[in-house]
Subunit: 419 residues, 2 copies
């Protein structure tokens, strides 16, 4: 069972908006045992919409379309779907009720342009979009068994996600008989892709044919994803567990954890279960460490807060870093990061604390402290650790790598100390 | 002059990695007057790579390919390009030198698998990738005038960006005669897409045919992008200026600024020019406000730092919010946000300060303070302002909207006070 995703929108083609919808949808589909065959991003162009809808239906059983449903002139998806399916627009009751309800909620009157949102092709089933005015539309293609499905969704991310989770995925699973699938993530850090590849090649080659390995590099870390397909979930689980055990035998030292998508998720799980608290003191990462942690629901369970000590004054005022330390060793130094991490741990009263100070670039580098030089500090109930890193890449890359280095180092220390 | 982008990688199809490359490349191409016709995301599959390369070349003059160049088994782009162009792999000197240099820099020896990175099709021109081991390859298609171009780039974002900026875009501009293009951004906030559309429809309809308007909605704000194509830059500028002047006449109150891609960029520009400093106190946004500001180079010019006061204890300890205030009015209240914003401004000694406290969800809502309730505080040399917002959507949406509301409010106040 496979799917093609078509994301419509000129904004995607001028690069003003990153296409996060494709990733979200792919994750949800993969998790449901539906393989994404490919993704087309096209403009609000009737010819292209029809062409890639056709190509999509040739290659896959399901075509999911997002975008082009807005009330503005450049949105033509609905009329184009009418042409494709030889249907016509009519005002749908469910959709009209929904638009009316939402306008009332916003305290606005229903304008003619709002009302157009309730027009849909006659041949589709309307799936109500409770979060927005654009209706979701379900089409079944005549003369295919089981009938291939085309679903048109709004491009607004949170509306799309809600519709996919609550309506589209369940309906697809009932409409098609989806085969058993098992995904297993292993988070690896401290080794480059090619070196890991050398290390685990014999193991990879020995994997059963129905278990696929994907390398998913992120800044400063690597996620290995095993995907197993078969008929029985229980059997797949056994086979995957065996494979993972084999991986531990050859790469244990690089494995940070399993079963989580990201290091922040793993860290949150660890801290929560251990009932430990965390605080952060960020200079070069400028709040990125805290914001990635607090982006996850339930962060307040363990994350007390932090200080973004961007200027030296703030390092002194808010963290108690000594003025003499800054003048003698500079802001990017072992001494400073140690005072930052101890300062934030003491002042915020957390069990654990992390700190970063470095040169993210592009400016600010010196011969002795080039761009990419970063000091990381970790304070625990038992110890204070500081390490110097040198990261390559641009500003955002350096920030990303620093975050992942901090998360991975902390996870390793917490596991060790709480073992 | 138009282009097709092909992003290769199974990781993109299981949704583990968001395809930011497509957006980056589209931005750079659009800026260079090359229109992106469409984007294909496909797996590491020889059949598909050839099929969409063919489709891409039918629709466009340029096909840019990323990914599938890694040293691991699942990377097949180079061999597939050989099949497509009827060529063969050979060890390229420039590429080998580069791999050797990088391995030495990492303090690693050159493994056989690293060395494979130096293999490229004979028919291509190698563009040296100074930041990574995968070479960039330039192909010209026989029998087309001007010869259509296929460029294969590494999928690692910062390597791709560097190659595009320094090598690929300049070479494309020399190879093809690119027409004059002018892009103009107008940042709009405080009105929904459909209401703005109603408001400006007469203006939009009256735009000259060669000037296109795109609606680029972001969380809590809207970017309007005018794209003008013609022969003379000067003429285009005049026409676009006239159009923008017309827009101000009907929508001035909603326009936050021009010529910037994002509100943080505009804010940074304003604060820098005014020589004013900023500090932040974040509860529900958890560091997102600071991290978006510090993601931009030069943030240290005006951003002193901030406090992520996630727990009430930190609100008291680090910001001096009164315990009585928290108990009497709760963390999500006007009183608390006022004490947060004054506290951070006084303690960090900034000219301006912003603060947020709210319920991002999914949990934590109450009948009187449902999920999406957010208090925003802004302190200036002249005044302290607090406003209550109610945002719809999921956690990330609420955080995003809060950030944009804070940036837009601050920009308006700073413009007003410094006028």
């Amino acid at each position: 069972m496979n799917a093609t995703i078509i994301n419509i929108g000129d904004e995607l083609l001028i690069g003003q908006v990153v296409n996060t919808n494709a990733a979200r949808m792919s994750q949800m589909l993969t998790g449901a045992g539906i393989q994404v065959h490919n993704v087309f991003t096209i403009g609000d162009d009737a010819y292209d919409i029809k062409l890639y809808l056709e190509l999509g239906l040739q290659a896959a059983d399901i075509v999911l379309i997002t975008g082009g449903l807005g009330p503005t002139k450049d949105d033509i998806t609905k009329t184009t779907l009418c042409e494709f399916f030889g249907s016509e627009l009519y005002e749908n009751e469910i959709a009209l009720e929904n638009v009316t309800r939402l306008m009332k909620a916003f305290g606005r009157e229903l304008t003619p342009i709002n009302r157009q949102q309730a027009l849909v092709p006659r041949c589709c089933t309307v799936i109500n979009n409770v979060l927005g005015t654009a209706p979701c539309m379900w089409f079944e293609v005549e003369g295919t068994t089981p009938q291939k499905v085309v679903v048109s969704l709004p491009g607004v991310p949170f509306e799309m996600v809600n519709l996919m989770e609550t309506e589209v995925i369940p309906r697809l699973q009932t409409h098609f008989h989806t085969s058993a699938i098992l995904n297993k993530n292993i988070l690896v850090q401290g080794i480059g892709e090619s070196f890991l590849s050398d290390l685990i090649e014999p193991w990879e080659t020995a994997l059963p044919h129905h278990i696929r390995l994907a390398y998913l590099p992120q800044a400063g870390m690597l996620k290995l994803r095993l995907t197993a397909r078969g008929t029985e979930q229980a059997v797949l689980k056994q086979e995957v567990d065996t494979a993972v055990a084999g991986l531990y035998q050859i790469a244990r030292q690089y494995i940070v954890g399993e079963d989580f998508e990201t290091l922040p998720e793993l860290l949150a799980h660890l801290m929560h279960n251990a009932g430990q608290t965390l605080a952060s003191a960020e200079s070069c990462t400028g709040g990125a460490i805290a914001s990635k942690l607090t982006a996850l629901a339930g962060a307040s369970d363990y994350f007390l807060g932090g200080v973004v000590s961007y200027s030296n004054e703030v390092k002194e005022k808010a963290l108690g870093v000594k003025h003499s330390t800054l003048t003698a060793h500079g802001a990017v130094s072992e001494e400073t990061v140690r005072e930052m991490v101890t300062g934030v741990r003491n002042r915020l009263g957390s069990d654990y604390a992390v700190a970063t100070t470095g040169i993210a670039g592009p400016g600010g580098g010196t011969p002795t402290k080039p761009v990419g030089t970063v000091w990381i500090g970790i304070a625990t109930p038992k110890q204070v650790i500081a390490k110097r890193m040198h990261f390559t890449g641009r500003r955002e890359q350096v920030i990303e790598r620093t975050c992942n280095e901090v998360y991975a180092s902390l996870i390793r220390i917490v596991k060790e100390e709480l073992a």
